[in-house]
């Protein structure tokens, strides 16, 4: 949480009230939930697969086909 807010525990203890800490924790959780839901919303079953044409286009130069 400290990394999220970019403040030290000492700063929080000396400058924030209990109410502020509680509110900021609540808002952080809400934001994390929104981010998590957004990622889940973008992931469809097909988002991990690509068509053969796309795969070929993306891997051009990476795969060498040797005719025997």
């Amino acid at each position: 949480m400290m990394a999220e807010w970019h403040v030290t525990p000492d700063y929080i203890c000396n400058n924030w009230t209990d109410e502020q800490l509680e509110l900021y924790v609540e808002k952080l959780i809400e934001r994390k939930e929104r981010e998590s839901n957004a990622v889940k919303g973008n992931q469809t079953p097909n988002s991990h697969s690509v068509s053969p044409e796309t795969l070929a286009a993306r891997s051009r130069g990476m795969i060498e086909v040797i005719k025997q």
């Binding site: 929080i12 203890c13 009230t17 209990d18 109410e19 502020q20 800490l21 509110l23």
Partner: protein, 131 residues
């Protein structure tokens, strides 16, 4: 008792209490200072369950009087002491001369609410995180 708005919380707005019919402002303490106050509060209310057990314990009639005195006389005084330890800027002598016990009780509730917000919201937050 009205919940404080997010704006009031973020700006560390004063807690408004009414004592003796007059409005007073109390600045909320930062975590470092309120931590000490919370310890004193817990020391005060922590023994309450055992005191209540003594009251309902019919086999200990001697304890009844002393516990009743503790709960009805000593404890309210300690609550007032604790309130003024939080609201250091208020003039205790003036306020005690005009404020009623009911006003003092409400003012104390306001201070406790500001000092223990996590007690209410932490279980909710943990439940949401564990989903």
């Amino acid at each position: 008792m009205v919940d404080r708005t997010e704006e009031q919380i973020v700006t560390k707005a004063s807690i408004t209490v009414i004592l003796g019919g007059k409005e007073y402002e109390i600045a909320p303490l930062v975590i470092r200072d309120s931590r000490e106050w919370r310890k004193k509060f817990i020391d005060l209310v922590g023994p309450l369950p055992s005191l209540l057990n003594t009251i309902v314990d019919a086999s200990n009639p001697e304890g009844f009087g002393s516990v009743l005195s503790q709960m009805m006389v000593t404890m309210p005084d300690q609550v007032i002491d604790l309130f003024f330890q939080y609201a250091k800027d208020l003039n205790r002598e003036d306020i005690e001369a005009i404020a009623t016990d009911t006003e003092m009780s409400k003012a104390f509730e306001e201070v406790v609410k500001v000092t223990f917000p996590l007690a209410e919201s932490l279980p909710k937050a943990l439940a949401r995180l564990s989903r």
